[in-house]
Symmetry: D2
Subunit: 102 residues, 4 copies
């Protein structure tokens, strides 16, 4: 099994064990992605471009950012799961569209 599929199965098991399937409609999961993306961008809002670089971040700040990246990824993979979307496939499809555009 490839890595994104492994994560998908682990995230699905986590949700199923808590009986969260009822909450995990595509609509609700899109909101969760947006909510977590808001927390991610908030981590960076008062930093300059330079201060946002890996070399300038404290270990604690980097850890906070990593967990926000994780939260966005978890809900995005879960949304793709309930919609039966192959993330790697659509990423490559979008890159090809962008190739033509730029």
């Amino acid at each position: 099994m490839n890595e994104i599929d492994s994560l998908k199965v682990e995230i699905r098991a986590f949700a199923d064990a808590r009986d969260w399937e009822q909450f995990h409609t595509p609509k609700n999961l899109s909101m969760a992605v947006a909510g977590e993306a808001g927390e991610l961008v908030a981590e960076f809002q008062w930093l300059t471009a330079e201060q946002s670089m890996k070399s300038a971040l404290s270990a604690e700040k980097l850890s906070d950012i990593e967990l926000e990246i994780a939260d966005v990824a978890i809900y995005l993979i879960r949304l793709a799961d309930v919609l039966n979307v192959d993330v790697a496939e659509v990423v490559r499809k979008k890159l090809r569209i962008n190739e033509d555009r730029f």
Copy 2:
């Protein structure tokens, strides 16, 4: 190479070929994730929970949603790349934290 790393390398090559590295600061990429998450949530904003289900979506709407999922994934993977963050590792770390919380 695992799948997320493969995508990471492909997205990086796309950015490098267009000399976009200068724009791809962590700060800017966090904004791009939030911007694309906004487009994703907008796809669902006037749908009921039922209308958001895969079985109820038209092929065209599903395709639009897939491309928005791809856009969020592309910038999230790119952000993780410039911060040298292993997405699968932090997702599993966050799932363990959530195991203790819920």
Copy 3:
């Protein structure tokens, strides 16, 4: 009538004339605010701090930004309307909370 209330009434009339009340649940309107905030942040994502200043923006770019500010404001005022929230009052309440915090 104060200015925010005037806007509230104009936005409500616009929605009512199109029979959009059915779509304007608080949940859906919160998504619309997030979607428009995503478009707003996207206007700034590749600009440096300096390039984002009013003096550095082209007339066309500023006009695009103004319309994104308007979109966020429209849905925020509409959300406050359907929840019967007084925006000015809660802004002042939050400022007092922040006074104590900072």
Copy 4:
């Protein structure tokens, strides 16, 4: 002075008293709007449309939502201030554009 201008002056005074002007670039403020919009949408993500209605919200939940509406409004008004944008004017301009569109 109209109400939005009054709030603008109060928010500006709050920022000035803390020497935050250096952080309040348009770019950073657009991120703050997106971050707070993420917190707002997160308040609604697991609620059904019915549960999101004012009549169904607990007093505590409504208070949380009000403060998130306030946070979005504060940063949106502050962004409009630093860009010298008249919020009421651009809202009405956008409503006229939408009149022609819908």
